[in-house]
């Protein structure tokens, strides 16, 4: 039970960050002609930012089913890597059934927080997933039903919550590990290249993130393999996020 509450606590900043992003999604979906409840169901069953923003654009046209499948795969393939990565540090009790159920909640942020633990238990992961999922759903509902209730200044400020959290996950590891510093430098350089280079701009962002991360992580894994006895503790930050 304590693990569950630890998880809940760690999920609060994620949930807050999700509010503003899903709020935007709710507003956007309704403005594109979706009913409020459709926007909410999409968020409840998908829980993916880039995937949903791209998905509703495809949904506007009848019959683009293959496009939907391909775009969702390319945008979301990064989750597979996260699932494999986190699957390596789950506790004994994290059996297949739990993996099929809780795998649903593998978002970038939930993964990042969970992987900062040495071992991830079922209760902890369930607790960690709950508030972000509620935040994502409630944010969508608020956006879809109420539109712009929050002043723009507050929305704008909330826009940084997710990134602030990312920084708080990455920086402590950068302090400890030079290869991680090199990894993120390479990843950032690639990501800027894809964002600003005219020929590469049009590639969907979920897909470019996967490319940048895979290339950067593969290069560093090749040049800076994690020493054998270190790898068990890799990513463990001493329970700071408990």
């Amino acid at each position: 039970m304590k693990d569950f509450f630890d998880g809940l606590k760690s999920g609060i900043p994620i949930g807050l960050g999700y509010l503003s992003v899903s709020f935007t999604f709710g507003i956007m979906a309704v403005s594109m002609g979706f009913k409020w409840w459709q926007a909410i169901i999409i968020s409840m069953f998908t829980v993916t930012s880039a995937g949903q923003f791209s998905g509703i654009r495809t949904m506007m046209y009848p019959g683009h089913y293959l496009e939907m499948i391909i775009s969702q795969i390319t945008i979301n393939i990064r989750y597979s890597f996260m699932s494999i990565s986190l699957g390596q540090k789950t506790s004994e009790r994290f059996t297949k059934v739990f993996r099929y159920i809780l795998g649903f909640f593998m978002t970038d942020e939930i993964f990042a927080v969970a992987s900062s633990k040495k071992t991830v238990g079922v209760s902890y992961f369930a607790g960690l997933s709950l508030i972000p999922w509620i935040g994502w759903t409630v944010g969508t509902a608020l956006g879809a039903l109420l539109g712009n209730i929050l002043p723009e200044s507050v929305m704008s400020a909330l826009g940084l919550a997710i990134y602030g959290m990312f920084v708080a996950i990455v920086v402590p590891e950068v302090k400890k590990s030079r290869p991680v510093f090199i990894t993120i430098s390479a990843s950032i350089a690639l990501s800027c290249l894809f964002y600003y280079a005219p020929a590469l701009k049009k590639i969907p962002s979920g897909f470019t993130i996967s490319i940048c991360a895979i290339v950067a992580a593969a290069l560093c894994a090749y040049f800076y393999p994690v020493p054998e006895n270190d790898s068990d503790t890799a990513g463990n930050t001493g329970g700071k996020y408990e």
Partner: protein, 102 residues
């Protein structure tokens, strides 16, 4: 949005996303021994998060200056090992304050 079309698309979108997440999580349960793969999996979260943050963070708020202020505050407080929540809240506050001044 017509309901039949909506639910067909929803089923595809949610189904594909779920399988991408859950299948590798459920199927790959053995400890991976290969050093390259292990190192790759250790680096991947940091690579994903940094690629998602930069440059997108610069355009996440109403002004690039407030975003820079928020990012700077986040970096400073993470160097000091503050918790996720603290860093997130302080960086939001920085954005808010800087936008008041602009």
């Amino acid at each position: 949005m017509n309901n039949t079309q909506f639910f067909k698309y929803l089923f595809l979108m949610a189904g594909v996303t779920y399988l991408i997440r859950a299948l590798p999580f459920a199927m790959i349960t053995k400890k991976i021994k290969n050093t390259f793969v292990k190192s790759f999996l250790y680096y991947i979260p940091y690579a994903v998060l940094s690629a998602m943050t930069i440059p997108a963070v610069f355009y996440g708020t109403r002004s690039i200056y407030s975003a820079l202020a928020g990012l700077l505050v986040a970096v400073i407080f993470s160097i000091r090992d503050k918790s996720l929540t603290t860093v997130a809240i302080l960086s939001c506050a920085a954005v808010f304050v800087v936008e008041l001044m602009l």
